[in-house]
Symmetry: C2
Subunit: 273 residues, 2 copies
């Protein structure tokens, strides 16, 4: 397992510096030599799309992905149609911001029928794929940790995401591997290997113990129990050589000065990823 010698693949997922707006986050990356950023749509909304487009262009920063499309299941056909429309707008925003990856957080079920919700996810992806392809944007299904199955995503394992990607079989559809969501999976390494050629993004953070919160217990790399380099090595062995996003929801990190977060992130990335 090889250690990185530089941060050429490092990307700041914007949620890690949650208090910064996009201008501040981009400036922070430039100041700290972080070559890429992953952008969240609610942050784009804060400053406006055209302003954000200018911020990105003027800075010369790479945009590793836009987060997020998805949220397909809904109780009625009208609502599902609205979700589709929102995904098409997300694809437009990805184009404007200069990234070719839209991360899909696929959404929870609208009732107790999780099997039906999974069908609605598949149908939703099928529906937006032609538009994504014509826009040159790839859709990355991000399986979330099973503890989010009721509230955020009925897609909960890399195996399940792989099966959907293979079934739909479109060169603009792939998967996002986030260590926090998949580290526990007994099939992890075989499913990473199975995703060969379809991995559109790789996200790192850590799983802290004791785990006190479902959302805010992610830690900085090295502060938890995840075998980061082993997983990164498996992902790299599939041929993936794209950006590695640091995506951390953590109140203490959010309360730190942004530049301190970036310095710590760079150090830990080199030490643990």
């Amino acid at each position: 397992m090889t250690k990185f010698e530089n941060i050429s693949r490092l990307s700041l997922n914007q949620i890690t510096t949650e208090r910064w707006n996009l201008q501040e986050a981009v400036d922070g990356c430039i100041r700290n030599n972080v070559p890429s950023i992953a952008i969240w749509r609610h942050k784009v909304k804060d400053l406006g799309l055209s302003a954000c487009k200018k911020i990105v262009r003027d800075s010369g920063i790479q945009v590793s992905s836009l987060c997020r499309g998805g949220m397909f299941p809904a109780a009625t056909a009208i609502e599902r149609k609205e979700r589709i429309e929102d995904n098409l707008r997300a694809i437009d925003e990805a184009v404007e911001l200069g990234t070719n990856v839209l991360v899909l957080v696929c959404g929870p079920a609208s009732d107790k029928d999780i099997v039906e919700a999974r069908k609605q996810v598949e149908e939703g992806i099928q529906e937006i794929l032609p538009y994504a392809k014509s826009a040159g944007v790839k859709l990355g299904i991000e399986p979330l940790h099973p503890m989010y199955a009721a509230e955020r995503s009925v897609i909960v394992t890399l195996g399940q995401a792989n099966s959907m990607v293979e079934k739909i079989n479109n060169d603009h559809l792939g998967v996002i591997v986030d260590v926090y969501h998949v580290w526990w999976d007994p099939q992890l390494y075989e499913q990473i290997n199975r995703a060969k050629g379809r991995i559109l993004g790789f996200h790192v953070s850590d799983w802290t113990v004791p785990t006190t919160d479902l959302l805010m217990s992610r830690g900085m790399m090295g502060d938890g129990v995840i075998e980061l380099r082993r997983i990164r090595d498996a992902v790299d062995q599939t041929g993936y050589d794209g950006p590695i996003e640091v995506e951390i929801f953590n109140r203490e990190i959010w309360d730190m000065q942004g530049d301190d977060v970036l310095a710590l992130m760079k150090e830990r990335y080199l030490e643990h990823c």
Copy 2:
């Protein structure tokens, strides 16, 4: 999917009435016509094994299982040996309390190497199986929800438990299906079917939304998003006709009067299971 007409398969998992000691819990079950109870070892320790044995015998209640053995992985051989010894004592206690099922919560890794920890679990089970068999006690591997992978169990899916049971292939080894731990699994129904003839227990509760806590967010059946009857039906279709334990960690339920919990549990069992 058939509805139950009586509570003949209902068992109170003792943790659901956490404030009751074993005497109170058994008395409560008898008073409320609940035919079975699942006993926790820390509750046995509170009153002493021989007193608990007498309480159970005098009452005539059935004991659906003893919770829990397991916790196999440890940093050193000496510690792992201590865990084995503790499991042998748990088997003894199961015999004394008149149950033939010991639930295994297999334990977390002692370091970051979850793959190695899983080997240690398998070795631990292999080591205690001859003793269990000679005592007439069956060992039920309970896969826990992946959110407990770092702190309670490296066995996190029914598929993983099934693979281990098939590999070891001993008629005194099987699986425990707990809806709270497995409801999210895309392979749920195929893995329940695969467990045919090896299911040693079935636990019910519910997954409440919004999910505010990793441990204490279990709800009473009907208060959450789990398709209970669909899962129960799948378990029954394997031929399982044993006890159905209600196992709920929930502060509000723990703060209720025990008899009120049992009344509600009976009502919800008939309505949702």
